[in-house]
Amino acid sequence: MGFRPIANTRSATGIMTAKLAIWWLIASEIVIFGGLLASYLMHRLAHPEWGYYAEHTNVYAGSLNTFILLTSSLFAVLAHHAAQQGDGKKAARNLLITCGFGLGFLVVKSLEWSSEISHGYTITANTFWSFYYTAAGIHGAHVIIGMACMLWVANTARQGKELHRVENVGLYWHFVDLVWIFLFPLLYIAK
C-alpha cells in the first residue's frame, strides 16, 4: 500500500479528518466574513446616506455574478455526485466547469470594478466604497483560492485518485457561494 496522508485515512471523530478540517475552515471563515458583514451592517444602519452611495453599484453585474456562482455550485455538487459513483473523469470535468464559472465571476467582477473606478468610486472614496471593495475583494480572493484547489483536485480525480477530495473542495466552494448570497443584497440591493 502506497503512502497516503493521514488526513485522508483517519476518522477518529466519525468524520474523515480531511473533511473535518474543511468544516473547521468554514467555521473560521464564518467569523472572518461574519465580522466584516456585521461591521458593514451596523455602519449601514447608522448611515442612511449609504443608500445613495449604493445606488451606484451595478445591480445587473451583481445579479449576473449571483447566477454564475449558483450555477457553479450546481456543477460542484454534480462533481461530488460523480465522485460518489466512482466516476473520477466526470467529477474532474464538472470541477473544471465549476472553475470556468469561477473565472466568469472574476471577469464580470473586474469589468464592474474597472467601470466603477473609472467613475471615481474608489476604495478611498468613502467608507461605503471601502467596505464594498474590501468585502468583494476578500470574497474574490476566496474564489481564486477555490479555483486553484479545484484544479488540483480535478487533476487527481481525473486519475481516479482521492475522490473524497471532490466533496471537500465542493464544501469550500459552496461556502464561497453562500457568502456571495449575503453580499449581493447587502451591497447591491439595499438602497
Binding site: M1, R10, S11, G14, I15, M16, K19, W23, W24, I26, A27, I30, V31, G34, A38, S39, L41, M42, H43, L45, A46, H47, P48, E49, Y52, E55, V59, S63, F67, L70, T71, S73, L74, V77, L78, H81, A83, Q84, G86, H119, G120, Y121, T122, T124, A125, N126, T127, F128, W129, L163, H164, H174, L178, I181, F182, F184, P185, I189, A190, K191
Partner: protein
C-alpha cells in the same frame, strides 16, 4: 484498515450516504434561480410601492432561504455529525456577540453625555446634496475636496463630549 478501505472509495464512515438522483440537484438549482429572480424584482416592487418591508423580505429573507437550501441540498449539512453543527453555530454566535457588543457604539450618534455632531452633520449634508440632485457625481464627491477628513470625523473621531 476498514477506514483505509472507505477512504479509498471516497466515502466517509459517518453515515453520509444520502444518495440523491442528479435530477434532485437540477430541481434545487431551478428553485434557487427562481428565488434569485424574486430577490431582484422584489426590491423594485418595494421601491415602486414605497413598501420597504417588501424589499427586506425579498432581498434578505430570500437570501436566508437560498443559503438554507444550499447548506441542506448541496452541502448536506444535515447528514453530518451533530458536533459539526455545534461548532458552526458557535462561530455564528461569536458573530452575533460581536455585532451586539459593538453596534450600540457604532449605530448611535448620541448618548447620555455625548453627541457625534460631525456624523449628524455629514448625514444631513449628503442627504441634502442628493435631494438637490447634486450628490450623484460619484462616490469621490464625498472624498474629494471636503470628504475625506469629514468622513473620518463622521465616524467618531470628532465626537464631541459634553
Amino acid at each position: 484498515m476498514a477506514e483505509h478501505a472507505e477512504a479509498q472509495d471516497g466515502h466517509d464512515d459517518h453515515g453520509h450516504d444520502e444518495h440523491h438522483d442528479v435530477s434532485f440537484y437540477y430541481k434545487t438549482y431551478a428553485v434557487l434561480l427562481v428565488l434569485l429572480v424574486v430577490s431582484i424584482l422584489g426590491p423594485e416592487v418595494g421601491e415602486a410601492t414605497g413598501l420597504k418591508i417588501i424589499t427586506l423580505i425579498t432581498a434578505f429573507g430570500i437570501a436566508v432561504v437560498k443559503a438554507g437550501i444550499v447548506i441542506r441540498n448541496f452541502m448536506h449539512l444535515h447528514t453530518e455529525k451533530t458536533f459539526v453543527h455545534y461548532f458552526l453555530i458557535t462561530s455564528l454566535a461569536f458573530m452575533a456577540l460581536f455585532f451586539f457588543a459593538v453596534a450600540p457604539d457604532v449605530m448611535k450618534h448620541e448618548g447620555t453625555r455625548w453627541e457625534n455632531k460631525a456624523a449628524k452633520a455629514w448625514i444631513q449634508k449628503v442627504e441634502a446634496e442628493y435631494a438637490a440632485g447634486g450628490g450623484d457625481h460619484h462616490g469621490a464627491d464625498a472624498a474629494g475636496d471636503h470628504g475625506e477628513k469629514t468622513e473620518g470625523d463622521a465616524h467618531g473621531e470628532a465626537a464631541e463630549h459634553h
